[in-house]
């Protein structure tokens, strides 16, 4: 294949899945001349699995992406068919929004945004080989011989690297949904010395809505209140489509038992590690065989299609067994299967080979983001894509790198886990992975990140000014409530009694009254006669701040300790093998991960407190040695 010079950019993003789309938009937004090169322009931001975005932890990631100027929140706000706020009966720390997406509209909207972004060029093509000079990436070569030059390259190829689809005993080389796999690129990365692992994931069958008997299922409607992910959204979609709930039963489980020998999972044909949190139905039945039934959610894939996603029935059993499974489920007896479920195996890069900026340690100017880094999920991919895009552009433009801390954002937790601990299964965010989840809330993503977003050029001045005004209103109102006394007069006592609380004995500060579990901001507002009518978002912030002050304070103290350790930087050129006293295991792990700070070092498994002490002494020794005496 003759080669030709196809163009020069600041940043090239390979792939336009959820990671690639965010990376490309962010890079362009930051001011870098950006190319996004992807296999098929009709598949931008395609959802190969469930038609849904958000949920616990993940939904907060979408908010964070939005607070940093990313796209996912804005796009889903325009293209969802249903939204629900989850965990509303629990505390504010774990509330999360989830949307059912119109898959096709989502893709179109994302593509439109990308097309309109100045600085961003879209091009269809397949990357096969990186151009490397002096240990640095300087571009790539496509299948048709185009040489694209760039100062940074971001690879976001998802599950495509040596992808293989498996159904029953059939196994064939393929990307998700029968797209073509990326084999040359996988080989090239291997040649360049990247260590990879083999992971696996799967997806359930899809059925035609017209063939479902919904009368045998339970309806699962969206919220009636208007909801949105993006802080910028002002128009809300109120016309929603419901989801439906049904269950597997003894018969379903019997079919699985009888056909287990045909499952590639159990015949030993699948060797990749699958995620524990997304087991296939055969896994669930085998591992929890005392359970009489499992939930199955029927989720429409969009407004203009009859295709329905059968959540809960992920499987790689042969197609004819899948048909039997569907037939055994109430409501799906006559269901017409449009696509069979399948498992997919793929190569992922061992993520401890990356810096917290998502830049490769061994190959400068190369960034990777998304499922290629061992994660799973659209939001996880998008969060990484955003950060990789920001950092790739920052490096090219000579700006400071951007690393989110575990106390800043779930995205920080995600990336830190990946680059510090690695993962031995496809990584999914869970709220329990965040040690400061009370600080990492859905409601305060803008308070946490918009300042930073503006500073790095991702948030416009206009949006920033709006944000500052909101922040100011919150602070003023908190101050007001802290200062104002409420007297135990008839109106007050009546209101408290109605709320089920015990009457006041004395005057009380408004803020202290709000701390009572039965009191809400609106009740306090009634008693304190505020002149300004505040918007709901501000009220919510005020309420959470005052009510959970004690808990927030405790978390902040822990964060202060963390920050101290984060401020203790480890010099990049440190040679762990020359530090006497480090345990052998710790030495190996430190040399592999090359943590940037003592805080990060102490999170590496196998590095114990004694090693950290020794490291501190060693670093301090270097510092002292440098001071001329």
């Amino acid at each position: 294949m003759p080669q030709y010079e196809a163009g020069t950019f600041d940043v090239i993003v390979v792939g336009a899945g959820h990671a690639g789309a965010e990376a490309a938009l962010a890079s362009a937004r930051m001011g870098a001349k950006t190319l996004v090169l992807t296999m098929n322009l009709d598949m931008i931001a395609f959802m190969p699995c469930n038609p849904s975005i958000g949920g616990p932890a993940k939904g907060i990631v979408v908010r964070e992406i939005d607070a940093l100027g990313g796209a996912m929140g804005r796009v889903i706000d325009k293209t969802h068919i249903q939204m629900r706020m989850l965990n509303t009966a629990k505390g504010p720390a774990v509330r999360a929004l989830r949307a059912q997406a119109d898959k096709v509209l989502y893709q179109q909207e994302m593509k439109r945004l990308m097309e309109e972004e100045k600085n961003l060029t879209l091009h269809q093509g397949i990357a096969e080989k990186l151009v490397v000079e002096d240990g640095k990436v300087t571009g790539l070569i496509t299948q048709v011989g185009g040489i694209y030059r760039a100062k940074s390259v971001v690879i976001t190829t998802g599950t495509f690297l040596r992808g293989e689809i498996i159904i029953g005993d059939l196994r064939y080389s393929s990307g998700p949904n029968n797209q073509q796999p990326s084999i040359k690129l996988a080989e090239n990365l291997e040649e360049l010395g990247f260590e990879t692992v083999r992971f696996k994931t799967g997806t359930p069958p899809r059925v035609n809505s017209n063939s479902i008997d919904y009368s045998k299922t339970e309806i699962q409607p969206g919220d009636e209140e208007p909801r949105a992910f993006s802080y910028e959204t002002t128009e809300f979609i109120m016309d929603q489509l419901p989801c439906w709930l049904t269950y597997t039963n003894e018969k379903t489980h019997q079919i699985i038992d009888e056909n287990l020998h045909l499952s590639p999972m159990y015949s030993g044909m699948i060797k990749g590690t699958g995620p524990r949190y997304c087991p296939s139905i055969e896994d669930k039945v085998v591992r929890f065989n005392d359970k009489p039934r499992h939930q199955i959610f029927l989720e429409p894939e969009g407004r203009n299609t009859r295709e329905v996603y059968v959540q809960g029935l992920s499987t790689s059993l042969p197609e004819h067994v899948q048909r039997k499974l569907l037939e055994s489920i109430p409501g799906l007896e006559k269901a017409e299967m449009m696509r069979a479920g399948y498992a997919i195996e793929y190569d992922a890069i061992v993520p401890t080979q990356l810096w917290p900026t998502l830049e490769s340690k061994q190959l400068e100017n190369l960034y990777t983001a998304g499922q290629i880094n061992g994660t799973s999920g659209y939001e996880e991919a998008a969060g990484q894509g955003l950060m990789a895009g920001i950092n790739a552009a920052a490096k090219v433009l000579g700006k400071e790198e951007v690393i989110l801390s575990r106390s800043d954002a779930y995205i920080g937790v995600l990336i830190d886990d990946l680059v510090t601990k690695g993962t031995n299964e496809p990584y999914r965010l869970l709220t329990s992975r965040a040690e400061y989840r009370l600080l990492l809330r859905h409601d305060n993503a803008d308070m946490r990140l918009t300042e930073l977003g503006h500073k790095i050029g991702m948030i416009s001045d206009e949006r920033y000014a709006k944000f500052l005004a909101k922040k100011d209103r919150i602070e003023v109102e908190i101050k007001r409530l802290r200062g104002m006394m409420i007297k135990p007069n008839d109106i007050t006592q009546q209101l408290i009694r109605d709320a089920g609380g015990s009457e006041l004995k004395d005057g009380i500060r408004a803020a202290d009254l709000l701390k009572r579990p039965e009191m809400t901001y609106d009740m306090i507002a009634q008693l304190t006669a505020s002149e300004v009518e505040l918007e709901d978002e501000v009220k919510e912030q005020v309420e959470i701040h005052i009510k959970y002050e004690g808990y927030i304070e405790k978390s902040l103290q822990q964060v202060a300790k963390l920050k101290k350790m984060e401020d203790k930087k480890i010099p990049e050129n440190i040679d762990y093998h020359s530090i006497s006293g480090l345990a052998t295991e710790a030495r190996g792990k430190l040399a592999e991960v090359r943590p940037l700070s003592i805080a990060q070092a102490s999170r590496i498994s196998g590095v114990n407190p004694a090693d950290i002490s020794i490291l501190l002494v060693y670093i301090e020794q270097g510092r002292i040695a440098k001071i001329p005496s």
Binding site: T431, K554, G581, A610, I614
Partner: protein
């Protein structure tokens, strides 16, 4: 550099008549003043530096006097660490020194990591560069030793109990996490405040019990009741003296020397023992001795551990066999003494009578076999074979400090549950408790929760 205040025992544990608890850091003097009561009522802070003061330590929460002490007061920078340093000299012995340390930790100091004083000395420029390597080696060596001890205890009763508490908490936490991360799953029971509260209350009461053993509990106050029995003249009193390393009991060649019970407190490899020497058990004419014998039988019944002494150079008698019968269901170690003399005893037969109990041979005169005996005692104890009543043993100051922290966090959780705080917020303190308890037994691996989550519940799409 800015540091917190650390404390540790700075004399080897269990040995010596005096033990020292050392504090270093900006709060050292303040903490000492919180606890120290001089007869004159003076405050350490107002005293000239590098002076020593006599007085008592009192528990500031109860004003109960804990120890008689001498306190050395040294202001920065002319100290080992170049920080303010307080040294509290107290009576040797693991019980009192641990009590002092525990008090200091509760009053705001943090337990020093191994080698941390030296590390500070270095970081504050007290030790020069050439010594840095030595500091690192020291940290390593000390930590390894500390880890050995921790490992020993890990298999012991304490870790078993803590393990049970943690598992109970973990199940609740996992259930809560599932409620949060998979809100639509109907087959996972909803974690509610009452369930959480019940568990938290139970855990707190168990921690209370543990803390009692640490401060005034039976074991630490009295030691593990260890009774030395055997026929007259086999060397019981000699054994007591060897373990105590002093001549407390009268030893003669006359059978029946010991007429009554003699008690001694010793610390054998970290196990506090209340050693009881008894009058040799046999039918006797001497009336005074007979009372002693009867009391010996009674003490025997209440013992946590029995050291049953036999004579190596005498054949086993009927009395010996009867004694085997008497101690059958108890924890005992057979000590076969006088191995320096010709063997007359049938060791195989003894082992047969003793079943799976340990046999140790000694010559107390030649000072042989005592090490093995001590080791056997420590092993039995730490492996949890000896049940000291239903008490678990907590004497390590680090454990005590952590238990106090755990007590605080679980109490916070309980208080929150009473106040109708959302369950997932209550859980923050429950999780913290689980983590702190994990530090006690050295289990801080953070994948425990995820493993529990996915093995306990069936989750997925």
């Amino acid at each position: 550099m800015e540091f917190d205040t650390i404390a540790a025992i700075s004399t080897p544990s269990g040995e010596g008549a005096i033990a020292i608890v050392r504090l270093s850091g900006p709060e050292a003097i303040g903490i000492a003043d919180k606890l120290f009561r001089a007869p004159s009522g003076k405050q350490l802070a107002t005293q000239p530096t590098h002076t020593i003061h006599y007085g008592h330590l009192a528990d500031p929460w109860t004003e109960e006097v804990v120890e008689e002490v001498m306190v050395s007061f040294m202001k920065a920078p002319k100290t080992f660490t170049r920080e303010d340093v307080i040294e509290i000299n107290c009576h040797g012995g693991i019980v009192s020194v641990n009590r002092v340390l525990a008090l200091v930790l509760r009053a705001g100091a943090r337990l020093a990591e191994p080698g941390e004083f030296t590390k500070r000395a270095f970081l504050n420029g007290r030790i020069d560069l050439s010594q840095a390597e030595a500091v690192m080696d020291l940290i390593r060596a000390k930590t390894d030793r500390a880890m050995d001890v921790a490992l020993n205890q890990m298999e012991g009763r304490l870790s078993k109990l803590i393990g049970t508490l943690r598992q109970a908490l973990l199940e609740s936490i996992a259930q809560m996490e599932v409620n949060i991360d998979y809100p639509e799953y109907d087959d996972v029971e909803e974690m509610t405040r009452p369930i959480m509260l019940e568990k938290a209350l139970w855990v707190r009461s168990e921690i209370d019990k543990l803390l009692q053993t640490s401060s005034q509990g039976k074991i630490l106050r009295e030691g593990l009741s260890t009774v030395i029995v055997g026929r007259p003249n086999v060397g019981k009193s000699s054994l007591l003296n060897s373990l105590v390393q002093e001549n407390k009991a009268i030893v003669t060649e006359i059978a029946g020397t010991t007429r009554d019970i003699i008690e001694e407190y010793v610390n054998v490899r970290g196990v506090p023992l209340r050693l009881v020497d008894t009058a040799g058990i046999r039918e006797t004419e001497d009336i005074v001795e007979r009372i002693g014998v009867e009391r010996s039988r009674k003490v025997l019944k209440e013992a946590d551990l029995i050291l049953y002494v036999l004579n190596y150079s005498e054949a086993l008698t009927e009395e010996d066999e009867r004694l085997f019968e008497a101690v059958r269901d108890m924890d005992y170690i057979v000590v076969i003494n006088k191995t320096d003399l010709p063997q007359k005893i049938d060791l195989d037969y003894v082992q047969q009578l003793a079943g799976d109990k340990l046999l140790v041979t000694t010559s107390l005169i030649e000072e042989e076999g005592i090490d093995q005996l001590e080791e056997a005692i420590a092993e039995l104890f730490f492996e949890g074979q000896i049940e000291a009543g239903d008490m678990t043993y907590v004497s390590n100051a680090r454990h005590i400090a952590l238990l106090h922290q755990a007590h605080q966090t679980i109490s916070d959780a309980i208080e929150a549950a009473d106040l109708d705080v959302p369950v997932d917020m209550i859980q923050i303190d429950v999780t913290r408790t689980w983590e702190i308890l994990g530090e006690i037994i050295g289990d801080t691996a953070d994948d425990g929760l995820l493993n529990q989550l996915f093995s306990q519940f069936c989750l997925g799409k």
